[in-house]
């Protein structure tokens, strides 16, 4: 299994809603990532988990809250988002820090 699975594929939420994005991989990878990608822009790193511990937070607003329940799962909890947070949210995983990333197909998020 060489896949990173993300759910949901699409999400529309209001600014007062709370929702969660989910990511799963069964490749035994020890590093997992959240990226945000706006249309026609490169992916921007948000968070890095290494061995289930948060190792990088790229100064992301607290309305985004990551969670790594175990080595296969990564969540991104969303609360009180703004319309400018609308984007494609990509999860990725890798064996380690210097290895290639495997990306999931992403969650297209729209905040109304």
């Amino acid at each position: 299994d060489t896949e990173v699975t993300q759910t949901p594929k699409h999400l529309v939420m209001g600014m007062t809603n709370k929702k969660s994005l989910k990511c799963e991989q069964h490749m035994g990878h020890r590093a997992m990532y959240w990226y945000k990608q706006k249309a026609k822009k490169p992916p921007e790193l948000m968070f890095v988990y290494s061995y289930e511990k948060l190792s990088i937070n790229e100064s992301v607003p607290s309305r985004f809250s990551p969670e790594c329940p175990n080595s296969s799962l990564l969540n991104l909890h969303l609360h009180a988002l703004q319309p400018e947070d609308s984007a494609l949210y990509l999860c990725a995983s890798s064996w380690g820090a210097a290895e290639k990333l495997f990306f999931g197909s992403g969650t297209q998020l729209s905040v109304l």
């Binding site: 490169p42 790193l45 890095v48 990333l101 999931g104």
Partner: protein
């Protein structure tokens, strides 16, 4: 902070023509990775370059890492419509586990 720029931003070629995208950094690059993202898709890893002056080939794709490790390039020979997508270089800052993506080059190939 580090900036990784790619040129051109966009290129439209006829099928069979060659294509090159260049990746330039304001600082010395560590390890360069190249990814391809099809329209509506997600980035897919193509290759990693580590050594100064390194050249790697994958069928019609040739990847180079500059001697001074300040730039890299991807050359596609005889493009096909399946090459359509955005090509990103990305610098892997191993000390901080951060992969910094370049600005990307969008390739359109007409049959």
């Amino acid at each position: 902070g580090q900036q990784v720029m790619q040129i051109p931003q966009y290129q439209h070629v006829q099928e069979g023509e060659d294509f090159t995208t260049y990746c330039n950094s304001s600082t010395t690059l560590s390890n360069i990775q190249w990814y391809k993202q099809r329209p509506g898709g997600h980035p897919v890893f193509l290759i990693q370059l580590v050594k100064s002056g390194e050249v790697k080939k994958q069928k019609r794709l040739t990847f180079q890492f500059g001697e001074a490790k300040k730039n890299s390039s991807l050359h596609i020979t005889a493009t096909q419509t399946t090459d359509v997508g955005t090509y990103f270089c990305a610098d892997l800052n191993t000390g901080f586990q951060k992969l910094v993506f370049g600005t990307g080059t969008r390739l359109l190939v007409s049959p």
